[in-house]
């Protein structure tokens, strides 16, 4: 359903609450990965990954440390370009565009694929400037349009009510959970299709974690979300689909319910039941 993809001026109707069960089944695939291999120098970090990531679903990537899930995530928006000896081979398609094509503009890719990091990393600027930074990079805005966009983005990230009276205060004065939701709002503001989250709650306390998880479930209405997590309860709580990575290979992928209750693979079972990892 490409018509529901958000555009820059109308980022998210996500503030309307809906129950997860009422969302229609979507067969549309946003990210298509086939025979994907990745290396750091001579070390092969990922082996023959084939995975389809559906639109407007939360897909979580789980697995023990060093299994390649973060590497996989960082190839989707090509953050791995910053690593000098990182290279990849295979198919990775965002809609019809080839992500790995060197001619594909990485700036455009990163506008369409937003990222939220493990540790909240707001800019040392005001809350308003944090949100406005991204949109301004891509397009010239009139002041009132920008104000509206900032408000929409903050509302979509469920943080508007907490910050509306101090938009021009430093973002560093917010709590960890608020900072992380601000970072999500910052990613939303440029109108992406996909949101990548690299262990978005691992630096947060339980209450902040709950608020960010609730937000992830809500954002699913609008965005295709890929979450890397170490926390299996979290994967079970927030995601529709789960992919289990182990030693650079994709062991098993499927609906989250099935993965946790009835895993097909022995390694998956051992991992989700906490026998290793």
């Amino acid at each position: 359903m490409p018509d529901t993809q958000p555009n820059l001026t109308k980022p998210a109707p996500a503030s309307a609450p809906t129950t997860p069960t009422s969302s229609p089944v979507s067969e549309h695939v946003t990210l298509r990965v086939k025979d994907f291999n990745a290396w750091y120098g001579d070390y092969q970090a990922l082996h023959n990954i084939t995975l389809n990531i559906p639109s407007q679903r939360v897909t979580s990537l789980i697995g023990p440390s060093g299994c390649g899930k973060s590497t996989f995530l960082r190839w989707i928006n090509r953050m791995n370009d910053l690593v000098a000896n990182a290279r990849a081979q295979g198919v990775m398609q965002l809609d019809k565009d080839d992500v790995l094509d060197r001619a594909f503009d990485v700036v455009e890719l990163r506008r369409r694929v937003g990222m939220v990091f493990q540790k909240p990393n707001p800019f040392p600027k005001s809350i308003y400037e944090n949100i406005a930074f991204g949109p301004r990079l891509h397009k010239h805005f009139h002041r009132s349009d920008l104000d509206a966009l900032v408000e929409q983005s903050l509302r979509a990230a469920a943080i508007w009510d907490e910050v509306k009276d101090r938009l021009h205060n430093s973002a560093l004065g917010l709590s960890g959970g608020q900072q992380q939701r601000l970072c999500i709002a910052r990613a939303i503001a440029v109108g992406p299709e996909v949101l990548l989250m690299d262990e978005p709650c691992s630096a947060l306390d339980p209450r902040s974690t709950a608020s960010v998880e609730a937000l992830i479930r809500e954002l699913r209405q609008t965005f295709t979300i890929v979450v890397v997590t170490h926390n299996m309860q979290q994967a079970a709580r927030v995601s529709d689909l789960t992919a289990f990575f182990f030693e650079g290979k994709l062991i098993e992928a499927g609906p989250t319910d099935g993965m946790f209750t009835n895993p097909k693979n022995k390694q998956t079972e051992d991992y989700v039941t906490g026998r290793f990892g």
Binding site: V107, F117, F123, F133, L172, R186, A189
Partner: protein, 333 residues
């Protein structure tokens, strides 16, 4: 028994170390105090008017307050009569040269730092440049003077001599009048001092940029900023307070240099302030050097007075640097 003596030993060692540290700290402060006291004692004659001092402090005549300082020391040109000598030309020359040095060294140095920190690939070539810059920072400044003499004062003899220039830009009376070679003019001095402080500016700016957490760069790149947008809108603004602190300290170094300008052969006796970028000049440290080298006691007193002025200027520079460090530096994460 042995346990107790061990414990006593430890306590004694602790006290001895504390005493040693206190001794070295107080020795440093004592030396500094002695230095300032001896310079003030020597230099007070030309800085303060003893009659006015007596009038104000002994008789309470506040009308004499502004006469305490001998302003003519600051407003007179150099002279062969000590009582008439002043540091006006040297102060103006120092300001000019520092301004030129800052205008050249800061953009070049900060630009180099941004390239090396934010853009340069981490390879052998970059490592070589890095190694060289670190070495250049340790080169004695008089060596830069020799380079300045060849490259700026004489320009390798390419444009004739200073007095018989082959290439000059008229009109002669405009402040921006330039002729090649630069001779002993302001541009030669400013460029030579630029050579001295450039490695310092580069190194301090690089350290300032490196202190910006890389998570901020990642955040910026991840919402589609280019490397340049990230450097100019996120990294540089976050590093500016530290960069400015380093820049000011580099400028105070330039302000205090005499050796490289000595090699250029700048004059010490100047009866006018510089009219254009090629005009002759002198600077405070050089004036001090010259006065201190004369046999008469009065000139030594003049040198001490000029040192007091130079110290006050440098303390102001460092004060501004400390202020910037305290006030402008915000937490970054």
């Amino acid at each position: 028994m042995s346990g107790i003596s061990l414990r006593t030993k430890r306590i004694v060692k602790n006290r001895a170390f504390l005493a040693l540290c206190l001794f070295s700290t107080s020795a440093t402060i004592l030396i500094l105090a002695l230095l300032i006291a001896s310079i003030m004692a020597q230099g007070s004659h030309f800085l303060f008017n003893s009659d006015a001092l007596g009038a104000v402090f002994a008789h309470g005549e506040l009308s004499q307050l502004t006469k305490i300082i001998r302003w003519d020391f600051l407003t007179n040109f150099a002279s062969r009569f000590p009582e008439k000598a002043g540091i006006y030309a040297a102060m103006i020359g120092s300001m000019w040269v520092c301004a030129i040095c800052a205008l050249l060294a800061l953009p070049l140095g900060i630009g180099t730092a941004i390239y090396l920190e934010e853009f340069a690939p981490k390879n052998r070539w970059t490592a070589l440049i890095d190694f060289n810059i670190r070495n250049l920072a340790g080169v004695p400044s008089i060596v830069y003077g020799i380079l300045g003499l060849t490259a700026f004062t004489r320009m390798f003899g390419l444009f004739g001599s200073d007095k018989n220039s082959a290439l000059s830009f008229d009109p002669d009376d405009a402040w921006w009048h330039i002729q090649f070679p630069f001779g002993q003019g302001l541009l030669a001095g400013g460029l030579t001092l630029m050579l001295v402080v450039l490695p310092i500016v580069i190194i301090s700016s690089r350290e300032a940029l490196r202190a910006v957490p890389s998570s901020l760069r990642q955040a910026s790149l991840a919402i589609g900023a280019t490397k340049w947008q990230t450097a100019s809108k996120i990294t540089l603004p976050a590093a500016i307070p530290s960069i400015l602190t380093g820049a000011i300290l580099a400028m105070s170094r330039a302000m205090g240099e005499a050796a490289p300008l000595l090699v250029l052969g700048i004059p010490v006796f100047i009866a006018n302030t510089p009219d254009n970028l090629n005009d002759n000049f002198t600077v405070l440290p050089f004036q001090i050097f010259n006065w201190a080298g004369r046999p008469q006691e009065s000139f030594h007193q003049l040198a001490a007075s000029a040192i007091v002025v130079l110290l006050i200027v440098l303390i102001c520079f460092n004060g501004v640097a400390v202020y910037l460090r305290q006030k402008l530096r915000k937490p970054l994460a």
